[in-house]
């Protein structure tokens, strides 16, 4: 199986590569459009800022490539946010795969610290999404912006208010949490995605 990790100006790509390696997959990290198009599975990970990463994707023509993919695609963290229609971070239009606007957390009280950082539980996720039961399991989040609940939400999390932990539309999957840092639960999800 050919698994491609999209290379762009975001951090944390090596961690995703290592996570795939731990489940026995030697992924290709590339920004080559043909290699991305020919992959069996595409992973769009990253840690970064929306406007600058979006600008980079456009300049390198990767925005159109990602949107046109037909094989299973998995966005992680900023990858997920970039797959939405718009982000408040840098007020930028994104890929528009998911019909949702990325917003910044607004704390209601002092205990609501931003970024939302640490282990939180995912709820309302059906076993069929990643072919495994991860409902109510803890996974690792680090983010200051969130995707509100929307029609494409297939997994929720609650911090300050309920928000989308997992999105799915056709062949596009995305998680706000870091699958690659979420211990054995993250590994189960990754394997589930690879088995799609």
């Amino acid at each position: 199986m050919k698994v491609v990790i999209i290379k762009y100006n975001a951090g944390n790509i090596f961690s995703v590569y290592c996570a795939l390696k731990r489940v026995g997959v030697d992924a290709i990290i590339t920004d080559d459009k043909d290699i991305i198009r020919s992959a069996d599975k595409v992973i769009f990970p990253g840690v970064g800022e929306a406007a600058s990463t979006m600008k980079y994707l456009k300049e390198h023509g990767l925005d159109e490539v990602i949107k046109s993919l037909k094989q299973p695609v998995l966005g992680i963290c900023i990858g997920m946010q970039l797959m939405c229609s718009h982000s408040e971070e840098g007020n930028v239009d994104c890929l528009g795969i998911f019909d949702a606007e990325v917003k910044r957390f607004s704390p209601r009280c002092h205990a609501d610290k931003v970024p939302h950082m640490g282990w939180n539980s995912i709820t309302n996720i059906n076993d069929s999404v990643f072919n495994c039961n991860v409902n109510n399991e803890f996974v690792y989040f680090v983010h200051s912006y969130y995707v509100p609940l929307c029609n494409e939400t297939v997994g929720c999390c609650d911090y300050i208010q309920p928000f989308s932990a997992v999105l799915k539309k056709d062949n596009f999957y995305a998680t706000q949490f870091h699958i690659e840092k979420s211990g054995s639960v993250g590994e189960m999800i990754l394997k589930g995605f690879l088995d799609l």
Binding site: G11, G48, K113, P115, G118, N120, F138, E180
Partner: protein, 251 residues
């Protein structure tokens, strides 16, 4: 609900963990990767690796350690020690670290916090503060607690936050290693003053100390070294104890 985090801290010198570590049936004592894995399997929520090497060669070895940790461990980890400039941060992040912890450098050159936040995001930047309560103030120290500064813990923590720190890790010099619990009053003031997570570090002797840090100190995470290394407190038992006391932890 967001879980409170339990974080073991490992001191690494020339690529090996120093300070005794006492795991049962453990063959490769001293290998940071093996120890990190062991802690990860026991339910640690995060790991901290501190490079206490002084030499350039040791630094290079530490980068290799970071890379091997990233390859083998599936929970977040923070690295600290020996960071003198932005390029060091980039090197460690490229090797797979999720966060870096700064101590003396941040106090001596606070602009580094802004630079890290701007280049890599606030979540990457943990500012560690060693402070001692003296003459009615929590005085910050640099160089491993050897050199006093004129900065006060609370104002420095606030400044670090406004410059872009993602978390504050506070060690009370009079509590560290004493096993008398965490300085909960100071932690509570920190937690209530800051809008970023606070990590309590140094002082834990028994499971109740962790409960107090979360309940009284209102911290988001607690870090310890020797009580975990010597097996005095086992992470699964600690987490079960905290859960019984209605503290949200990842089990």
């Amino acid at each position: 609900m967001l879980a409170k985090r339990i974080i073991p801290c490992l001191d690494v010198k020339d690529g090996m963990v120093v300070k005794g570590v006492n795991f049962v049936n453990f063959r490769n004592a001293g290998d940071p990767v093996e120890l990190g894995k062991q802690y990860s399997e026991q339910g640690a929520d995060e790991l901290v690796f501190l490079d206490i090497t002084a030499s350039y060669e040791g630094r290079k070895t530490f980068t290799d350690v970071v890379k091997r940790v990233a390859e083998n461990i599936n929970i977040p980890f923070t690295v600290g020690g020996g960071i003198t400039e932005l390029a060091d941060v980039e090197r460690l992040l490229n090797a797979g670290a999720d966060k870096v912890s700064l101590n003396s450098l941040a106090l001596k050159n606070p602009q580094i916090i802004d630079d890290i936040a701007k280049n890599f995001g606030a979540q990457v930047c943990v500012v560690a503060i060693d402070a001692n309560f003296e003459n009615n103030m929590w005085r910050c120290y640099v160089n491993g607690g050897h050199v006093p500064t004129d900065k006060d813990l609370f104002s420095w923590a606030k400044e670090a936050e406004s410059r872009g720190a993602g978390e504050i890790l506070f060690t009370s010099m009079s509590h560290d290693g004493m096993k008398i619990g965490f300085p909960n009053d100071a932690l509570r003031t920190l937690s209530e003053t800051l809008n970023i997570p606070v990590i309590a570090s140094g002082g834990a002797g028994k499971m109740e100390d962790f409960k107090d840090a979360f309940e009284l100190g209102k911290v988001d995470a607690a870090l310890a070294a020797s009580v975990f290394h010597f097996g005095e407190i086992k992470i699964p038992e600690l987490k079960a104890y905290l859960a019984e006391n209605n503290i949200c932890v990842r089990l």
